[in-house]
């Protein structure tokens, strides 16, 4: 008899556990897709050394220039933006893989740059931010005079 009792309690515990897991998945599944990129880092970035300048490329298809905010501070470049994805009016959706999202990336730059000379262009869904390198302090030669 005792054996049955125990089993029942174990099954109850298992059932309870299953319900908890279901609830957890429900919570995860209901999170709005617009808050976070579904997988990995978005947008993806390339950083290039062009000699006089650094060039940062970001793949941001569907992002409008007005929805981008670029700032620089302490040799770190901050890019924030919003990608709006909305179903066209009057259409029913069969499949939706493109997520609307808010994003923010900060990129620590390997060399000193002059943020006042930053040029950003948006072309075919690729944002290019060109950052002029700050001039290196000139090496000074100290003359040694014979006494």
């Amino acid at each position: 008899m005792l054996g049955w009792f125990e089993t029942d309690r174990d099954l109850f515990a298992l059932d309870d556990f299953r319900r908890r897991v279901d609830r957890l998945f429900d919570t995860v599944a209901r999170q709005p897709a617009s808050q976070e990129p579904a997988a990995g880092r978005w947008p993806r970035a390339n950083l290039w050394d062009e000699g006089e300048a650094l060039a940062l490329e970001l793949g941001v298809p569907g992002v409008q220039l007005d929805d981008l905010e670029i700032s620089g501070h302490d040799n770190t470049l901050h890019i924030r933006g919003l990608r709006r994805v909305s179903a066209p009016e009057g259409y029913a959706a069969h499949r939706r893989e493109r997520a609307g999202l808010r994003f923010a990336r900060s990129i620590a730059l390997p060399v000193k740059v002059d943020f006042d000379q930053t040029v950003a262009t948006l072309d075919n869904g690729i944002l290019t931010v060109r950052l002029a390198k700050a001039p290196e302090p000139k090496a000074r030669s100290i003359q040694v005079r014979p006494s």
Binding site: A45, P61, Q64, A87, A93, H94, L122, N124, G125
Partner: protein, 129 residues
């Protein structure tokens, strides 16, 4: 709408890399209304003249190449590379093949596939006798 009519994505995992470049399947949305289907796909970096859209035996193929300005050296960090994009969809017969149009804006491609007149829903007037 039954399954046969719906615009479906072809389950094709045999895409081969051409020219040694990676081929990626771009994320896409599929919409439908009474007049037709609309496919929206992300093709970052792709210019309009580098997009090729073909309809062959009910199979719609979207191909795009991103020709990155040639950069040989100077990479400090790379998270993405010059890519070919390709995606195929099975299209129902009810599509008016001549009426397909496409538009590319800010790296986002929109392909409109109008339904032929014969399958469009019609409103039938009921007259009082």
């Amino acid at each position: 709408m039954n399954d046969e009519q719906a615009l479906t994505q072809e389950n094709d995992t045999t895409l081969q890399s051409i020219r040694g470049r990676p081929v990626a399947a771009p994320p896409a949305d599929i919409y439908e209304n009474d007049d037709g289907f609309l496919i929206v796909a992300d093709l970052p970096g792709v210019r309009a003249d580098a997009v090729d859209i073909r309809l062959d035996h009910g199979k719609l193929t979207i191909h795009g190449s991103w020709s990155q300005p040639s950069r040989e050296t100077g990479a400090l960090a790379r998270e993405f590379h010059a890519t070919d994009f390709e995606r195929r969809f099975m299209v129902p017969d009810s599509i008016d093949a001549d009426g397909i149009s496409a538009e590319l804006s800010q790296g986002v491609l929109q392909v409109r596939l109008p339904k032929s007149e014969a399958v469009k829903p019609r409103r039938i007037e009921v007259r009082a006798g």
